[in-house]
Structures are given as structure tokens and as C-alpha cells.
Symmetry: C2
Subunit: 258 residues, 2 copies
């Protein structure tokens, strides 16, 4: 039986155990792809109940250190990371994937005309009532791994040829190929834990952090062309940017010291 060290009594047992397992994983004592002992065996090794082991394992799952398959076992995760640039040009998911050696693919889950939600109506600056929009949901794959769920809204007025094309490929590339020049965007980056529904759609554990990329993209003279959000797995994706600060913009510092 592994000694758990009673001098760290402030910490719950399942934390102590998950940290011990974490060290072993990081020390490659359990290598990527390798199987860990079963929950039952771990319980005997640490001298605790299966419930406690399961809680410890839950921590590791959440940190993306292990993945678990029913009937097979607990496996050390092999790390991946794809970076998407937020700067010029914005969000060519397919180009970024290709550059980093993955094959990008989308699966459209839904494409239908609906009444625009209030938020979308505002973002797309729709004036006619009732305001209708195309609502698309799609899964984005890198090779065969689902890495993101995208929810987009398009004005009803888009070209009919686009309606077909958008269901086949990546949004931005498709728009550009059809002559829609996107030249600006407002974005907001956020993070949420995967709900049950999202965890099933993206094949991730419940509660795994997802990056939320909210966007409104504009064409021509500030004409909104699309808005929506991309929810991407934080174990596979990150966003990068290079920022140049104009000298004038230092003004906001103000002169009131605290």
C-alpha cells in the first residue's frame, strides 16, 4: 500500500491521491497512452474506497491528464494543441488546421431559417420585422477528433448559392470564395465548462473547459455578415494574437494614482 503522508491533513484524500498520480504521469512513470491500474487496484494501492479513487480520477480527467473508456480502463492522455490566430485574417479554421498538419472537416448538424434571437438581431443590425436568420450548427473536426462546435447566424438576405455552400465547408472560407469580403470583426473570448449536451457533442468529459469565441464579422462598410460563437475544446485549441500598441493609446492610464 502506498503511504499517503498524514502530515498534509488539511488536504482531502482524493486531492492527495490525484496529485500523487499527477506527479507520476508528469514524471512519465505512467507514459502517454499507457493504462493506469484499475479503479479497484488503485483503491487497494492507496488503501481507500473506490468512491475516493473515482473522485481522484475525476480530477485528472478534468485536467486532461487521463481519458477513460468504459470496459477498457484509464489511459494517460497524449497531448495535442492547435493554435488559431485571432489576427489578420481572422479565423480561417481550415487554413490553420492544414498548416498544423491536420485535415479539417465540418459536419453540419442544423441549417434552418428561424426567428432571430434578440441578441442576434442586434448584432446583425436587422431592422425588418419579423427578422429571420439562417441558424447553423456544425461540428469541426481535426482529422477524426471533434474539436469545436460552431453556432452561426446569417442574415436571410444572403445569396441562395451560399445557402448550399455553407452547409458543406468552413464558414469564412466559403464566404470569401463567394465574394463576401470580411474585413473586420468584434470578438469576445470566454470560457465555460462543458454541459452534458456539449460534452456528448464534443466527446469530452462533463465540465471540461471550453473556449468560447464569440464573433460578429463585417463586410464592406461595416455591414454585419455573420455572427455566432465557436465553442472549442481547451485540450486541443488555443488562440494567439500579436498586439501593437499605438503611442496615443497610452492616454487611458489617466493621472489619478491609487
Amino acid at each position: 500500500m502506498v503511504s499517503i503522508g498524514s502530515d498534509v491533513d488539511r488536504q482531502p484524500l482524493h486531492i492527495t491521491i490525484s496529485e500523487q498520480l499527477k506527479s507520476k504521469i508528469e514524471a512519465r512513470e505512467y507514459a502517454p497512452g499507457e493504462r493506469l491500474p484499475s479503479e479497484f487496484d488503485l483503491g487497494e494501492m492507496f488503501g481507500v474506497s473506490r468512491t475516493t479513487i473515482r473522485k481522484a480520477i475525476a480530477n485528472l480527467i478534468q485536467q486532461g491528464l487521463v481519458t477513460v473508456s468504459q470496459g477498457k480502463g484509464i489511459f494517460v492522455t497524449e497531448p495535442h494543441k492547435i493554435s488559431f490566430s485571432m489576427a489578420n485574417p481572422l479565423m480561417y479554421f481550415d487554413a490553420a488546421l492544414r498548416q498544423q498538419g491536420y485535415q479539417g472537416r465540418v459536419k453540419s448538424l442544423r441549417f434552418q431559417l428561424v426567428q432571430a434571437p434578440a441578441e442576434v438581431e442586434r448584432q446583425l443590425q436587422l431592422t425588418s420585422q419579423p427578422a429571420q436568420v439562417y441558424w447553423q450548427e456544425k461540428i469541426i473536426y481535426a482529422d477524426d477528433t471533434p474539436i469545436a462546435l460552431d453556432v452561426s447566424y446569417f442574415p436571410k438576405a444572403i445569396a441562395p448559392t451560399l445557402v448550399e455552400a455553407l452547409q458543406q465547408g468552413f464558414t469564412y472560407s466559403t464566404l470569401v470564395r463567394h465574394g463576401v469580403r470580411l474585413n473586420a470583426a468584434k470578438v469576445r473570448l470566454d470560457s465555460i465548462p462543458a454541459t452534458y449536451e456539449l460534452s456528448e457533442a464534443l466527446a469530452v468529459p462533463l465540465g471540461m473547459p471550453l473556449l468560447v469565441f464569440n464573433y460578429v464579422a463585417y463586410q464592406g462598410d461595416r455591414q454585419p455578415a455573420v455572427c455566432g460563437r465557436t465553442l472549442s475544446r481547451s485540450d486541443w485549441t488555443c488562440y494567439t494574437a500579436e498586439i501593437e500598441v499605438a503611442k496615443a493609446d497610452l492616454s487611458c492610464l489617466g493621472d489619478d494614482l491609487d
Copy 2:
């Protein structure tokens, strides 16, 4: 007892329960700040064991819908969100907080000279061996809520007056006030679940998603002045940017269609 609806048998019980509670919260049947029934009472209401209720509550905690205090009860979270702009100028946390009606404050946890980790050595372009850097860790508060943990590294060569000043206030403002002109930065945004240590430092539940803002900031002629990362609570913070796409940059789309 609440009917749980046996037609959704594909879903675990704790999911069904947490979704029912979620609807009630979103419908304001349980209003922000209000207390939910105790775990024992919820168990009776749904006719399940306390363990199952606790798992359902854990889902709600993770989604930031409720917060829990030992000995007091389960309370519906009152929502907050502070947005930080990633664009010109970069990362004036204190200015952003002030603009949004909060009082910003920092608590320095650590400030010491250490051997630079390899990653830091590379980012700060340190050449002398051994490369020493100042290592700072601080908590950032909005009013009295800890919202972020910042870990920064500064070259050993910074001015002695800065060493004092950096321990008192916000990094970027302090640097600028001491004549260090930051004019560019490379950033990477990511998300991780709070580890046990982080969850204690930021007073959040274990596993809550944290936004990770990795940065290297430059002064003058591409001279690295500071690097590090800011881990911020996703229930309190988000990052925004406005992107302008130069026409020339559309080239990367390539001409190979898929």
C-alpha cells in the same frame, strides 16, 4: 416528490436533476442570492440519495450557477462579468476595472530573484548564464473578490526603483509610470480547470475553468520587458478584441479547394 420523467432513461439521474434545477434557476424560480433547499431536502424532493444530489449540485457549481458554503447552504450565484480589451493598449487591468466600476487591488504573494525557467529564458531572450529573473506572483482583486492570479517574470536588469514599485501595484501601469514604454506583445489565450492550489488561491471550486492569458510584452525595439501569464476566473472575466483584416492577408486561403 418531484417526478423525474422516466422517458429520458439515456441520461444519468444526476444530469436530469441538475438540468431541472438549472431551469428553475434560469426561470428565476430560485432567484439570484436565494438559498436552495438543503441537500437532504433535495434528496427527499427528488427521491434520491444525497450522493446523487451532491453530484447534481456539483454540475451546477461548475457551471457557475450556484455557490456553496459549508454550514450555510447552496445559493444562486449573482452574475458578474468584467471584460478586458486585448487591443491598444494591452492589459491595463486597473484601468479596465476602474472603468467598469470596480476597485482594483493587487496582493503580491512572491517577489524573488530566481534562476529563469527555460521557457522564460527564451521569451525574455536572455543570453547571460546563469540567467536570473525576478519572479512575481500576485492576486488581483476586483473590490474584495479575487479574480485573477498573475505570474510574471522580469529581467534582472530592471531598475532598482521598479523592484519596489512592482510589488505595490499593477504591472503594466507601474512599468509605464517608470518610463518603460511597452509597445507590442505576443499573447496566447487558453483555458484550464482550476487545480486544487489555484482553487484555493482564487476561492473557486475545484475544476472551474480559468482563462489563461500568456504574454510577452516588448519595449522599444523589440526588447522583451516582461513575460508571464494571468489566470483569471471565467465567471468574472472575458477578453475582447476588435480585428481589422488587411486585404492582402486574405492570400493564405490558398487555391486548393477541398
